[in-house]
């Protein structure tokens, strides 16, 4: 359980959404001395239009309205410089090398919690809270990150990269609740964010189309944005695409028809600008390789049984650790599953507990099936 019953000075990250709004409200209710903060991650004024300057952004305004309602101070932390370096630059370079990044994971791992920890110390806070649907179990000497009680909303997938030394200071007040309970309680408290829709898009790509961003940040005529061949696994060219950065392993959209069956992206090859496509069954993998794994405790032993989750809200696949060293983690899945793009996060669980995670490396083809 959390230590919510002990009143502490708590810094709560408020995005302006309902989850973090209620997180702040619950902490206030529990008698904590709460300070709200919204992180300004990038300047939202798009180009030359003055319509939505960074000053007027909805999230900041909503968070301020909620803080005012709760009677707590609220500050804006400008983390734009760090966010651009650690998240946006990485996002662009991952697409440039044919990978599919997880910017929210990068933000949590590099920007958000590190910055919150530094500020919390300066503000004399003992604890840090966010509105994530996860839980943290504080046992003597060790704090463990767990999935949220509401598995449909669980956000543990995004938090594998946090520095484990921060876990003892974290509180996730909505981790014990379901989304509908959160909305209900937010409504009961009259929070303006109670019925605010979920944010689905990447915060710095509000239109959902990241190609503009890549065009702005990559060199002119970067191969990731130039036409290239659509090929089958045997090398047969079956069409052309207008930039491999638009493709991710497992994607079906945008491949055209005429193949007689649904086709999927199997691989992106930046060096030849090829996008390899094939039928669904060709996507299947039975092993996963993870680059530079990050662990919350001791790394699991080779041979130990764990579960791996490779997409947000995706299933956790039962698997065995077949190799573990500081550079590489190799997992063998009990059952085949569709491949996931390199660059995406693979999170390692023991039941509800996050053991660690890493970025998925290039797809490993299954071993030939012996008849």
């Amino acid at each position: 359980m959390t230590r919510a019953s002990v009143p502490r000075r708590t810094l709560v990250a408020m995005s302006g959404g309902v989850d973090s709004s209620l997180a702040a409200a619950l902490l206030v209710e529990a008698g904590h001395d709460v300070i709200g903060a919204t992180m300004k991650t990038f300047c939202y004024s798009g180009g030359t239009t003055h319509a939505r300057s960074c000053c007027g952004l909805d999230g900041i305004v909503d968070a301020r309205l909620v803080a005012d309602r709760l009677g707590i101070p609220h500050y804006v932390f400008d983390v734009e410089e760090d966010f651009t370096r650690d998240v946006i630059d990485d996002f662009v370079s991952e697409y440039a090398r044919g990978h599919t990044p997880n910017p929210c994971v990068r933000c949590n791992s590099y920007t958000k919690f590190g910055d919150l920890r530094r500020r919390a110390r300066e503000l004399g806070c003992d604890a840090i809270a966010t509105g994530h649907y996860v839980r943290v179990r504080h046992d003597p000497g060790v704090s463990r990150l767990l999935r949220g009680r509401d598995h449909a909303k669980d956000q543990a997938y995004f938090l594998w990269g946090v520095d484990p030394s921060i876990l003892p200071d974290l509180e996730f007040p909505v981790g014990e609740l379901t989304k509908s309970e959160v909305r209900e309680r937010a409504r009961a408290l009259g929070l303006v964010t109670a019925d605010k829709p979920e944010s689905q898009e990447i915060c710095f790509v509000p239109t959902g189309d990241y190609r503009d961003l890549l065009e702005k940040r990559l060199a002119p005529r970067h191969p990731a944005l130039e036409p290239g061949p659509l090929v089958l696994e045997d090398g047969t060219v079956v069409g052309e695409h207008d930039g491999y950065s638009a493709f991710t392993v497992g994607q079906r959209r945008g491949l055209g028809g005429g193949f007689g069956r649904p086709m999927f992206v199997l691989e992106v090859r930046p060096e030849t600008r090829e996008v390899v496509i094939g039928p669904r069954e060709a996507l299947a993998i039975d092993r996963v390789r993870i680059e530079t794994p990050h662990w919350h405790g001791a790394p699991p032993d080779e041979g130990s049984r764990v579960a791996v989750q490779m997409r947000h809200r995706g299933d956790a696949h039962a698997c065995r650790v077949t190799h573990a060293d500081p550079e590489t983690l190799l997992l063998t899945l009990d059952a085949r599953c569709p491949a996931v793009a390199p660059g995406q996060s693979a999170v390692i669980f023991d039941g509800d507990e996050v053991l660690g995670g890493g970025r998925i490396a290039a797809r490993l083809r299954p071993a030939p099936v012996s008849v």
Binding site: C54, G56, Y75, D78, R121, E122, L123
Partner: protein, 383 residues
């Protein structure tokens, strides 16, 4: 711990006299000043009385006062209105201004540039005073307008307006000044200083928000920026806010009448605050040192701190002040004023204290103590 408000350069509380003066004009005397009937006439009379009071306070003619909605709008009308007037004379507009202006002036000047005109930005010296030699050079560009603020809103430095006006008159160039921080702080009489355009704002002198005026000397060519029913001599169309104008007039009248005694009071508070802060923080730097200042603003740099955390920590100690300059969201960004003064030098985290008519010596003593406490704590944490 009682909170202390030392951010009067940001805005001020409305004083009782202003509130009372405005009271009848919300629902009793509510007419549209442009209407012919008695309601309209009554409202118009109130509006024109207010205009007369503002004119008297500034030492100008009643017809030279244009009511607008605040200081920013006033600055914009002056610059953009001059630029448009120049364009209509088939000439390329050129605005000469200074690097330490309020954004309302600097950004308006930039927009003139974006629209094909010119903007010449005069540098300042190490105390934040505009360089007059560069001004002399700028006259070669046949400016449409020279715009230099009277008192800088971040560091309180008074600009040599008399000297600037004299040089502009010599070259036949109209002069505008943003007088928002000067009214009620130093003597502002346009019969002594023959400016062509002056911007003032109500809420900086205990008047209502969104009230302001532009003084336009008779004969100054100026074009409207918005279009409509022809109110305010066509320069600011739209039904006038009579209550706002009455409140502005009351606030400005009182502020100007009290300016001399206020100045003495503010300068004393400022010296006291400098003394107390210096005693606790010897490495403190007073911005604008060496120049003439309006005493209600004190801006100091304190090395070795994050500006953002300094502001937040001061707020948590119950001390309301400003940083270098604040964006609407409350996130801090670098001050263009300090950048203009210090060039490439690193700029220390800055606190702007600004006093109001109700500020007391005790509050100043307490503010110095709280500041020292916060700085010492942040410095310990930074180690």
């Amino acid at each position: 711990m009682d909170p202390i408000y030392l951010d009067h350069a940001a805005t001020t509380p409305m004083r009782a006299e202003v509130r009372e003066a405005m009271a009848p004009y919300h629902s009793e005397v509510f007419g549209n000043p442009s209407s012919t009937h008695r309601w309209g006439r009554q409202a118009q009379a109130a509006l024109e009385r207010a205009r007369g009071r503002v004119a008297d306070a500034l030492g100008v003619e009643r017809r030279e006062v244009v009511f607008v909605r605040g200081g920013t709008e006033s600055d914009n009308l002056a610059l953009l209105g001059r630029a448009d007037a120049t364009r209509s004379g088939q000439q390329t507009p050129c605005i000469v201004t200074s690097a330490i202006e309020h954004k309302a002036v600097l950004d308006a000047a930039r927009s003139v540039e974006v629209d094909g005109g010119r903007a010449i930005v005069l540098p300042v010296d190490g105390s934040g005073v505009v360089d007059l030699d560069t001004l002399d050079l700028a006259f070669d560009a046949s400016p449409s307008l020279v715009s230099v603020m009277w008192v800088n809103n971040e560091i309180g430095v008074v600009q040599p307006i008399e000297e600037i006006v004299e040089r502009c008159r010599h070259h036949g160039v109209p002069v505008h000044s943003d007088g928002v921080q000067a009214i009620g702080k130093i003597p502002v009489r346009l019969d002594d200083v023959p400016l062509d355009l002056l911007s003032i704002s109500g809420h900086k002198v205990c008047g209502p928000k969104s009230s302001g005026a532009l003084f336009v000397r008779a004969g100054t060519e100026l074009h409207a920026r918005i279009h409509g029913g022809g109110q305010e001599g066509g320069l600011r169309p739209g039904t006038q806010d009579v209550a706002g104008a009455v409140g502005l007039a009351e606030a400005v009248t009182l502020a100007v009448a009290e300016a001399a005694s206020a100045r003495t009071h503010y300068l004393e508070l400022r010296d006291r605050l400098i003394d107390r802060l210096r005693a606790a923080l010897p490495d403190l730097r007073v911005h604008g040192a060496g120049a003439e200042v309006a005493g209600h603003i004190l801006s100091v740099g304190i090395p070795g701190l994050s500006p953002e955390m300094l502001m937040i920590s001061l707020d948590m100690e119950g001390l309301a002040v400003s940083g270098g300059s604040a964006c609407q969201s409350g996130s801090t960004s670098e001050s263009h004023v300090l950048r203009a003064i210090y060039g490439n030098e690193a700029i220390a985290a800055t606190i702007r204290y600004s006093f109001g008519r109700t500020t007391t010596r005790d509050e100043i003593e307490e503010a110095a103590e709280r500041t020292a406490r916060v700085v010492q704590k942040l410095r310990v944490d930074a180690i």
